[in-house]
Symmetry: D5
Subunit: 149 residues, 10 copies
């Protein structure tokens, strides 16, 4: 019996590595973006029954896993508060170095409020560049204003 | 005598609030993006002498501040490892929830390496949307591969 | 010259204590709830110019403070990640003990998503009870669903 | 042999996911609120023998589990001091942003003391709203005054 | 102008040291226990106006301090989560080594619930002993049971 | 083969829960206080061979456990530096809120030194009270003075 | 089935210890530096298929491991933020004591920017010295300047 | 009166920025390496009287500072355990990613022991490279073996 | 007016540096060991009135300081839980590496209990050695056994 | 197959407890001090092949363990940064309370440098005392001076 969503995530990763499956293939099978698909497979999003069945098929998951993939997971994908992996740390560094800048500019443009991390999408793509290709990431989040009451 | 870059940052913020200066005005005066300009004014980037003089003029800074603005600062703009401000926390949350996804997708596309946070730019803008305007942020960083040796 | 919003908060607190001003009086003067008013005076919300002028009047604040009260503050009102004050700790304890319950029930009712802490209101009142009066707190936050993309 | 209450909690969760049981059904079977029921099933409350037997039946728990459900558990349902799950974090954020406000207003109304987290109840419900349904949460805790001695 | 209760505490401590005032004298002047009195003077309890005036007299406090002593303080008297002072650490050690024991025995005797730290009193006294005098401390707190709802 | 004292503690707890053994029964069998007995069974004290045999009998422990119960354990019974369980947290809160008071009063009475947590005893009992029974705890520790040398 | 790269690393270490394999032998078999080779075997670098097959042969790894060695690992080789092992701590100490010096001198020579930890190589060798041999370590990293935009 | 070495460090930095002094000039004046000189000026090393007088002259330090520069400082030049500045973080990252590698290779070559951080020198220089100049850093530390006794 | 013992410590350190006073001279003036004397001057021990007067004389302390030196201080002389200064860190390392050894051997010799850090003395001296002088430190603490009750 | 040195340490501890082996017996069999011997058995030192074989014999270790005992271990014997065990905590307390004293006195006697924790020995013995036996510990470490370069 599967006891946690983390077990399902480990099964998915182990199969992905063994069978060399690409996230973009999984995304295509689901008809969704590779960003949402990957996050969902890594235990950060809840799937519909149909999505869970597709994913279970691709990754040879046991029957039980289909129910776990539909349950809302306890989110958080990193093992430490300050990430140790260099790729992920660079993102944390951006938040640390540019955090006050991001706050100032969003507040200057929109007033007091936040950029939603829920009504949110992420898009990662390659940007060809003669001086070395770049990673281009677009984050789009609804602005949510604080209100008086 | 000014003893640290933080003092200069506090002077800039106090004047900006008092005189209601917009970061985009400062950026226009420097002929640079509002993102770099704000980061530099908030003590995260080193300015050229000319830039420092423009900024000193705008914010009524004392003579000493011009030298400090040219010195390379000790970077890091947030008071705690996990940010408490909701706007900035949402970014930390994105790193936490989507961190493993970002890593998987960049590694899938580019192989082992990172997205540079140095050869990097940030662009924040309003995206009109009938269901509520969105904050659209574009991050662009050069991909830097790990190499064997 | 005032250098930070925290200075304004300290001034407000010192005057409030000295002159024994009640938050509900301030709220009445602003025509808003005592919850929003107190949060704003304690440096967690940005005020409009008119609100800032009313508050400055009540608390004998210097001219400069009016601009600071309108600036969007860096939020976070507690000195430590785990609060030491018993009253506030009880709330942290509720999050700790009931956190998984709250998540399960909101997710059971609404699906995957969050209860907004931005489009949010708080209402604190006395509930008379023969066995000892109770504090009754109503939190109301818009449900924000995660979406596929 | 079952070695800890956490094992029982994991069994309950695994069965709940597999058999798609709703907390409100469990609450109905116990004749208690869904809030207390969920907290108890998630290892935060001690049950009576009869309650434990009902729960064991619903979740196919082994004999041993009935004794564990009656033992007073070591409480605390979150894996980190600052929660990483966005839904639960929003609650932590409310404590962080509104903590000083909550303290001021309860103390203004009642004097020095706390709102009990023991003689306490929680009620979570959907509040229909044309602009998007809201989560409405009512917390009710007995006020406990500090006394001189 | 006094800006925080901590300032008042520092004034009290400085005068106490300089004038060699004993806490038991202050307690006698207030007609209360030395435990409550000391805690109140060290910024952990709110005083009545009359008490504050007595204390202000004893410690030569300025006018402003009388209002601060009546305000409910942000409690917490130690600079670090794990105390460094050996005397106070020993108490933390007792909580660490005997914590599970205390929980088991209180729960065995009373069922699920807590010993109140609010409806609580503390009594510290010397216990003569031929093998070396002992510190005898009596803690008395109301038992508060968790209830179903 | 048993690999750690923690394993023995888990076996004791599992049997205690399953067979509904009371700590006071174990204490009676050992002829010692329930406080020392519970602490010893929970892995905080070393037992004599005879005590270990009595305990092994009561809790159906394997042969190996008898040696482990006699070994001096690595003490510390709580999983986090700041305890999450509400009952134990209240004790931590007492140390936090009253810590400076306890230090002042012991030092005022005895001079510089500590209250021993080794030459120490703990006594927990029910105190009947018409307004609700109270938990009465007596701590007694030898005073140990710092000396010059 | 192998579930994580850490498992592969543990297998490699266990075989290396049992068969007394030297890292320099592995490096020679791969035709690469001992520094990169060791880091890769310890789970910090991704290998090519051919490299993975050589390593699998040397360390008797199961079939599955070959795929895991080619996957980009989650990097970070130390169990705590401040390392406890004395050899590794000395390096942390160098960063702590000389960190501000390193920053000043690199910034003085190159301007604002960093020394890459990605386009980076490490070389560790013995330096004979009559007063006791020395460890000589050469770090070489590309300088990456911050740019305006 | 100067109260700490940190004050002297701040004075040195403020003058260095204001007068645009280069560390290599200071090193030349002392006849020592720029690495040791910078570390000493930044409060990490004790100077001789003569060195202190040279430094005081260069940086216009008051009389008192000369004594402080000769006192052995409390070392540690970074404000947080995990550095936030990107340049210094890259060094921490090297320790994190390559830490186990460094340990393996030094132990393989020398046996159990450490590379001294005391009998240690550091040399930072520019390495011209057509693909972009590199920072080349040489660390040299005496190997100190653990011994039996 | 002096507000804390830390201020007195800073005054002592500043004068000691300025006038180049040696701790052994202070110890000789007090007729006590240099270890106790230094600890007392650095704010870790309470002095008698006469001792305080001698110390005040040596370090030109103001009148107020004499009372502060007699008050029992809040002990703890290091700014961080894990010390950053290499000399002090080596001691922390000894506790970390040899901690379990120290515990095993004291427990093997004495049974369950501790080595007192209160009824304790410290003696630091130079041990001439042809291979380089050594620091020889003798710690002597009374053994305090845990007792049954 | 043994996967880590910690496994070997656990086997040694389990056998030591079961067979009631004394560390001094092991030390005698090795012809070394009980301090080094215990540290080595607890996974803090690397053994020679011959030593490993003696230890394996005494503790009935499997073949594999002999190789692991010769490998240089990742050192650090305590589970938390601030130790919870009272005996080991007292040592941490000594570092905390006397840390600045130890630093001052070693630096006063020897100049800037450290006491080695590598070229180091530890000796723990019983010191008979009519007022209660004492633990006498001698630490001896080579003084290592910082040098200019």
């Amino acid at each position: 019996m599967i006891n946690s969503r983390e077990e399902v995530t480990r099964m998915i990763q182990a199969t992905r590595i063994r069978k060399d499956i690409r996230w973009s293939q999984v995304a295509a099978a689901l008809g969704l973006s590779k960003e949402w698909t990957t996050a969902a497979c890594l235990g950060q999003m809840a799937m519909s029954k149909q999505q869970a069945m597709v994913v279970a098929e691709i990754f040879d998951l046991p029957e039980d896993a289909i129910a776990w993939l539909q349950a809302v997971p306890y989110k958080g994908s990193l093992p430490t508060a300050v990430p140790t992996d260099p790729l992920i740390y660079r993102w944390y560094e951006v938040v640390n170095v540019y955090g006050s800048t991001i706050k100032e500019l969003i507040n200057e443009e929109f007033g007091d409020g936040i950029m939603s991390a829920i009504d949110f999408s992420l898009d990662i793509e390659r940007e060809a560049d003669p001086k070395g290709d770049r990673v281009r990431v677009v984050l789009s989040g609804k602005f949510l204003p604080y209100k008086e009451y």
